[in-house]
Symmetry: C2
Subunit: 214 residues, 2 copies
Amino acid sequence: MSATSQTLRDEIENGIVTGEFPPGERLDEVQLATRYGVSRTPVREALMQLGAIGLVEMRPRRGAVVAEHGPERVFEMFEVMAELEAMAGGLAARRHGDNDKAAILAALEQCQNAAEKNDTDQYYYENEIFHRAIYTASHSGFLEEQCVSLHRRLRPYRRLQLRVRNRMKVSLAEHCEIVDAITAGDAQKARLLLRHHIAVQGDRFGDLLATLRP
Amino acid sequence: MSATSQTLRDEIENGIVTGEFPPGERLDEVQLATRYGVSRTPVREALMQLGAIGLVEMRPRRGAVVAEHGPERVFEMFEVMAELEAMAGGLAARRHGDNDKAAILAALEQCQNAAEKNDTDQYYYENEIFHRAIYTASHSGFLEEQCVSLHRRLRPYRRLQLRVRNRMKVSLAEHCEIVDAITAGDAQKARLLLRHHIAVQGDRFGDLLATLRP
DNA sequence: GTCAACGAATTTGTATACAAGAACATTGAA
DNA sequence: TTCAATGTTCTTGTATACAAATTCGTTGAC
């Protein structure tokens, strides 16, 4: 694995999570190779890695396609994400230090700024930083890795989520409550709030389905 | 990815989780290639995949080594595993059908048989089947995948766990309680029991440390 | 007109060749 | 004796070549 292979992996992964390569799209080896100006070998190695983490589906002798999950599967992924986030929040409530608290509060403030400007893209970006700050505050490196990884994997399915009416305001209000619970050291409350914050339920299930049926 | 590459990936992964390739061991490409009678290309592809899921560490230009985690990291992995198992158990309590229940009871019985024969290896094997039955009963395909994957990853660190005094009997007793909670539909209780069943705590933390310091 | 079968062309999987960087040993000086 | 420098060797990373399989198009029969 050299810089090329690693870079390629990131490039393709980025293309997937940003929607440039939508779910179901075929990833042609020679096409990618010419596009990035390399041979097929590093492209294949990059695809193998993405296949191992579930971002692309490798069909033997039939090429790679961007992983395409059905609604139930995506729902299940959000379920697990909610649980991992809840765990991170609970640990953060008990373990966070001054630096962690400062990072979380700063991220919350940036979320507030974006919400006031009604800038959905900016909020989306700051939201990610906010959640990562909580992962870090959990002081569990492995949990942080798992959360970041799953978060990335869910990005293609969450991109449109925030565009639904009032979602940004509701999300921000929930963020405030979560921060209160964490800084107060209330692990149980932080868990419940985060699980609810992430979980796909009620109306949002319909929203999710809508994003999956283009 | 052909049969060779896929097989190779499984072979090496198996070698890692069975301890044939212990943590920290260098995985030489040509050595593996000659051993399995193939060229370096499929070996590299297999290693890439194992690197992507964290079983081996890929150091650029310096080869691959079996991932070697420090005690804290392993502890964190068990923490996450406990949470995922708890989640699976909770879902299983609410969602299990007749087939699921039968599979869990059958697995429990096999655990009992192994325990009566004092057969640690057999118990280790049946224990895995028991836990997988719970994953399946959660009726969340994604959660099941995550649990199986993390379970495999922890195998090298759990192999010796069951050998400590009385661990098998305690484990079996916990299994019985867990089954009671699941079949009774008591999700909350199943969660608590499973979290405790998996979590590394008290004396077992010392046991874990012991297995990590050879 | 539809479907099946056969053949060409594209594409994947593996091996090999080559280039570049890292590990290692040998030699020399302090 | 120890340490540093340099050259050799070994290993990794990438490209290319070739083999095998799948896909697609064409042709033919019903």
